[in-house]
Symmetry: C2
Subunit: 465 residues, 2 copies
Amino acid sequence: MSDHYTVTRTFLERLKQAVAPAQVLSKPAEMEAYAWDNTQLRYMPGAVVLAENRDQVVAALKTCNDAGMAVTPRCAGTGNVGGALAVQGGVVLSTQKMNRILEIVPEDRLARVEPGVINDSLQGALAPHGLFWPPNPSSAKSCAIGGNLAMCAAGPNAIRYGVTRDWVLGLEAVLADGTVIETGGWTTKNVVGYDLTRLLIGSEGTLAVITQAIVKLAPRPQARRMLRAFFSSVSQAAKAVSQLMAVGEPPSAIEFLDAACLDILRSENTVDVPDTAQALLLLEVSGNATMIDGMAEAVNQQIQALKPVEMAVAESDAEAEQIWSARHALSPALKKLSPKRINEDVVVPVSRLAALIDGVSALAKQSAIPIVCFGHAGNGNIHVNMLVDPADAAIMARAEKALEKLFDLVIRLNGSLSGEHGIGVQKKAFMSWEVGTDTLALQRRIKRLFDPLGIMNPGKIFPDT
Amino acid sequence: MSDHYTVTRTFLERLKQAVAPAQVLSKPAEMEAYAWDNTQLRYMPGAVVLAENRDQVVAALKTCNDAGMAVTPRCAGTGNVGGALAVQGGVVLSTQKMNRILEIVPEDRLARVEPGVINDSLQGALAPHGLFWPPNPSSAKSCAIGGNLAMCAAGPNAIRYGVTRDWVLGLEAVLADGTVIETGGWTTKNVVGYDLTRLLIGSEGTLAVITQAIVKLAPRPQARRMLRAFFSSVSQAAKAVSQLMAVGEPPSAIEFLDAACLDILRSENTVDVPDTAQALLLLEVSGNATMIDGMAEAVNQQIQALKPVEMAVAESDAEAEQIWSARHALSPALKKLSPKRINEDVVVPVSRLAALIDGVSALAKQSAIPIVCFGHAGNGNIHVNMLVDPADAAIMARAEKALEKLFDLVIRLNGSLSGEHGIGVQKKAFMSWEVGTDTLALQRRIKRLFDPLGIMNPGKIFPDT
């Protein structure tokens, strides 16, 4: 073989023999679906393995490792940072077809699943048992558990329940050389040796391929209540978030929309937005049916004290739907507004939210690029969307500068470059802004320990040297 | 130096120069307090460093690493598995004096603390803010955050809140060679590179010395209600636990006491125990004041359906105190009963609780050793106490056999050797029973990566080779 990324005919034959001929794709037309993710980037792999079971994952990895061939693990391919893209060619190893829910054990509040199970399918299977798996990215209908594990996905539920790493008991995974490891176990407490479970979660397929997970489940709240509050300033909205987080039971969701979002909603005319409103909070409380009114009222009172422009508590499912519609109308509207949006999911401590949003407004003015902010305010996790035209080089150059200034601001606010999307190929150049030299060097050494030949998802997470 | 464990006069001088002469102890009388933990084992170290700040930790580690000298990190020394004992001599590096609460940020629900802060002191400082840190080992009044982090401690709160690893945002730690790393950060979401935070938590001081932690806080529930239910069989009590965990909001604590415990309580005469009772559940619900009665009633009804021998809901703080007294009376009573107890904290999936308790009863009969079980039933985490006399060789030999049979049973029930105490020196011989060969080999390689010379807490976690 000439290099670690070119799939030769000889290698392809070897891979087919090792895995199963029918599970290996090599024609561009067949592989097209595996060349994309949610970034609009496109990288055609040299071959795609559609593993149907753990043994095929082992066989594929052994074959690749023996040849030093690059492997990009992939599941549903809905990621936002290019994590599932074969940016340097080589083999895409998909676990999408390993999509069985192996068991659900309600009395132990756990389920054992393969990585290809779609998040929403798992939720559907759990609902009759009164249980759910808390991680709920907005892509829940199409993203898979494998991707949720690889990126440590989250979503609005994170404010109350935490993120993917908090809801996994154990993993089965395959290392680059085909070694199968099992981490954690079946119990909610386990302090037997190092926590490899959480080392793998969020490692973006650079350390191992996850082939099975024992996930921890939560009881479904009996009842939910939606609230909506428009504010005349971002700082008042941010103050409300801080106060809600400082005392009492937190709401189960606190979503934020900035002034730019409200302008879009005004122009779309789907939601009534008061003229003086500059920020919107969408809140959800959830709990037992007998308590839900009290919970909603407690949140209502906390917010009323801050004198919002307008405040509403949904009295019915239809009204709740109407309240959420403001959030749901946003993504399609953004798509109409510009050919591309650079979508960053930065996160700051909740007390620094106003400083972040103010800083982004200033950046938008400086760079003359429309920037729209919304997101999971209860975690300080804001999706900063720059609306750009990739065909306009001047705009793209200004966007790049603005992005650097954004990350600089976030770091100065004690924040983090990514709350739930991960690093992938998109943010790796900025890793060293957040992670110190010695800590990053240690991470690189861990990477080499798991994967001495560097075949696992090369070109991801770590900055180029 | 003749070996890696003997502190020579030359080495001692070097250590004093590097750290600060006043912070290094070497007289046996001064070091006696650092030779013990909660295991009744005693190992006198060659020297003790009482670090007052991170730089002294760095200096101590560099000096030891240069000499290949064994270092046993230690905090309050309240552990149950010998983790803080210098079993092979060398230097004890205590962070007990680094005991400042550096800041509390209520609106971000976080605190930044040094490792020597006592768990209970932190809770006291947080109370005025309406916040608390959920990990609450029964040693909370004397154990330190550093030990909680090192062992991934838990306690009754784990059922609702999870364990230490779920309540830490970021760490500062020093590697064997003196390198300072910072992991995680200030935000509740963070997916930037590998999760070194959780790799260090529970690593028992074998990878690094933690010098600072940013901990995540939870709102203090406004109200609590205690319930008590006696059952005529273990299987009925276990069924109640399973059912409580399968639907609805879990109680904030479900503590279990077995028939042997009840016999002790009967003989102590401090608590009224019905004649036919064979098991006791102590339950706590907590939440907002307006909801607490509803929550207690929901649990009451679920348990009543299983026809307990006797059921009580505390109507006052005094009654709640009275209910908890059953649990608190236990430890002193056990101490009176036998010169030593072998205290294991095994854990099984909740649905296997009855099988575990039945198996332990059988073991007690077979081995003719009194075994008393109690613990955190909501997590399936049971403290199995063998009452033995270390002076009686025949009993100790039978106890050793019984212990092996216990661990074998736990593994067959998909359980884990330790839910919250850790492995330390006490359970390392059994590590390979739970952790597979390849996974254990990987853990050893991680250990070597962090600590090439093997100076950090040698003789812990890993089985002797």
